[in-house]
């Protein structure tokens, strides 16, 4: 294990940012710390980097106890959300910074800087100032700067958070490919579940200073440990007292009219519920329908073709059944259910 975090606790005044957190980050993998804002994921990353001192607990990096090691001795690469570019230095000097501090011979530094600038596709921008680069380019420069010192771990704090949607997506794909090329142990913080699912080998879900679940993207999506993880990783809806994903609900149109609809289903599969469609919305290739049942409103997503075949529209009586093998979680109290 490349990073071992044991029983780390960190408070800011009365606010508990990290509450007895223990987690291991595997070597050479791309790990995402995923969670809502203020959940403690950035604090955890900064504790690993040595930018915050934990109140209790230990941090081990590559088998060495780093808890009391100052940040500059931890040999970690850190990338900030807002780039933290050295504004008065050229792109090349930014990348060379860590090497100059380490008194690397000039020729070697120049060679390494060239290599990294090629890697992040900024070779033609070497002599520009950061202010002459776009956000995406600045973040690639920051990444090259962090990689220049050959860090034992690379930490990225919401690296794409300040970028617009299109650039974010490009950079995300690029980071994935880059990691396959240079498999340095990488941890990145994000609140975007899509980003985590798409890029990471492993996801650590952090909420309210605690770890909710650790696992591969498939694990988390298919076998969420609790309703929070399930709700955070994708849209959920409440169906007969359990949480299920809207696209994992099988829809059957039943004979009968609006009056009989809404009665508990006694004729269908276990867990099935009767209701009537109250509204449909088409979004691109899918159709979202709201079905009113006896005691809840269920969101259902079907493909456009399915909706057409079924004749799904407002006023139609339907029977809803959770699809077989679909991930479910026990529904929490009423108000906590989010339909994302």
């Amino acid at each position: 294990m490349s990073i071992e975090i044991r029983n780390v606790r960190k408070t800011f005044g009365d606010f508990v940012a990290l509450d007895d957190v223990s987690v291991s980050v595997p070597t050479g993998r791309l790990t995402a710390l995923l969670g809502p804002s203020g959940g403690g994921k950035s604090t955890l990353l900064r504790v690993v980097a040595g930018l915050e001192q934990p109140d209790a607990g230990t941090v081990e990096i590559e088998g060495r106890d780093a808890t009391n090691l100052p940040a500059r001795r931890r040999n970690v690469g850190f990338v900030f959300q807002h780039y933290a570019a050295f504004k008065h230095l050229s792109v090349a000097r930014n990348v060379a910074f860590g090497l100059e501090i380490r008194r690397t011979p000039k020729a070697e530094t120049a060679e390494r800087v060239d290599e990294l600038l090629r890697l992040v596709h900024l070779e033609s921008f070497a002599h520009r100032l950061p202010s002459q680069l776009s956000g995406g380019q600045r973040q690639r420069m920051a990444l090259a700067r962090a990689l220049a010192i050959r860090p034992s771990v690379l930490l990225l704090d919401e690296p794409f958070g300040a970028l617009d949607a299109k650039v974010r997506k490009e950079l995300r794909d690029w980071l994935r490919r880059l990691h396959d090329e240079i498999p340095v142990t990488t941890v990145f913080v994000t609140h975007d579940q899509e980003e985590a699912l798409e890029v990471a080998d492993e996801i650590v879900v952090v909420n309210e200073g605690r770890i909710e679940q650790v696992g591969s993207p498939d694990d988390l999506y298919d076998r969420p440990a609790n309703d929070f993880v399930m709700g955070f990783l994708g849209p959920v809806t409440r169906l007969g007292g359990v949480l299920v994903r809207p696209h994992d609900v099988a829809v059957e149109v039943v004979a009968g009219d609006v009056e009989t609809a809404g009665a508990p289903a006694d004729d269908g599969a276990p867990g099935s519920v009767r209701g009537v469609v109250s509204r449909t919305t088409r979004v691109g290739f899918e159709v979202r329908a709201e079905v009113t049942t006896a005691d809840e409103v269920v969101s259902v997503v079907v493909t456009r073709a399915e909706a057409r075949t079924l004749g799904l529209e407002a006023g139609v009586a339907v029977r809803l059944t959770p699809a077989e093998g679909a991930p479910t979680a026990a529904a929490p109290r009423e108000e906590a259910v989010g339909v994302g």
Binding site: A49, A71, R72, R74, F80, H82, A85, F86, K87, R102
Partner: protein
């Protein structure tokens, strides 16, 4: 077309106000600044360059100018070092009594320089709390150049700090933390990252300090003793010569002091519009 005429009238009205305000400001500045200063210049050059030459051949005048320059340089060095240090302390660290320190730093601006002078005499004077000890160690502060430096440094204390603190606050800590994570020590981070980021604020503070230090009068008058040729600075000399009816010399020295200050202001104006840290030109 009621709307249009209303707009036109408003525009007319505001034009009237605009010109009125301009005229008021110009008259005010002429009466308060322009005219008096121009009289000083005229006084200094009443006999061509003769007055200036006579003044500069007076050893007391030369001594006073040198003393003022030497004091100003020492004050600039002291206040730049302490100013940058105190600014870092105020912005980057939390400690008990921080807001008190912050308030105290503005004291030199609000307290009369005479009071500053008197308080220094109380501490460092011959019968002061600390002065006796220093004197027996062979170091005279009051009625000597060190006292003049102290008094001037006190008066100029906030100038560098008030320039540097907002810039330090604005640049934030990300760059410094990035440098640290890349292996830089505190001092390397300061020299390579923080200092370049605040350099224009420091330069600006230095220029302001220099201008203020050259012109300080009240505090210096109390602590220096005003001994001609020993502790008499240029401003003190101007006052004395003026009262002794040597107006030519007074005007000549006053002109020299004023021209350095004007040069400082011009420098500041250029720095303000060109410096990358000015609000106009942020990236």
């Amino acid at each position: 077309m009621a709307d249009t005429s209303t707009v036109a009238r408003t525009a007319d009205g505001s034009r009237g106000v605009r010109y009125g305000l301009r005229a008021l400001v110009v008259v005010y500045l002429v009466l308060l600044v322009g005219w008096p200063v121009s009289l000083v210049v005229r006084g200094a050059f009443a006999d061509g360059l003769e007055t200036l030459r006579t003044a500069l051949s007076d050893p007391s005048v030369v001594f006073a100018l040198q003393l003022t320059a030497s004091v100003a340089v020492q004050v600039v060095v002291l206040n730049t070092l302490f100013g940058v240090g105190i600014s870092l302390l105020l912005v980057r660290y939390d400690f008990p009594g921080k807001s008190l320190l912050n308030a105290l730093l503005d004291l030199p601006l609000s307290v009369s320089p005479i009071v500053v002078g008197l308080s220094l005499v109380l501490v460092y004077g011959k019968d002061g709390w600390f002065g006796g000890t220093l004197e027996s160690a062979g170091m005279q502060v009051i009625f000597a150049p060190p006292g003049i430096v102290l008094a001037t440094a006190f008066v100029c204390l906030p100038l560098v700090i008030r320039e540097v603190v907002p810039v330090l606050t604005e640049i934030g800590t990300d760059e410094e933390l990035a440098a640290t994570s890349l292996g830089a020590t505190w001092f390397q981070t300061f020299r390579r990252i923080t200092l370049p980021a605040i350099r224009w604020a420091v330069v600006y503070g230095v220029v302001l300090t220099l201008a203020r230090a050259l012109g300080e009068f009240g505090a210096v008058k109390v602590v220096s003793g005003n001994f001609e040729g020993r502790t008499q600075t240029s401003t003190l000399l101007v006052e004395q010569r003026y009262q002794d009816f040597e107006q030519g010399t007074a005007f000549a020295v006053a002109f020299l002091l004023a021209s350095v200050s004007v040069a400082c202001i011009v420098a500041v104006t250029f720095l303000r519009s060109d410096s990358p840290s000015s609000p106009k030109a942020t990236s």
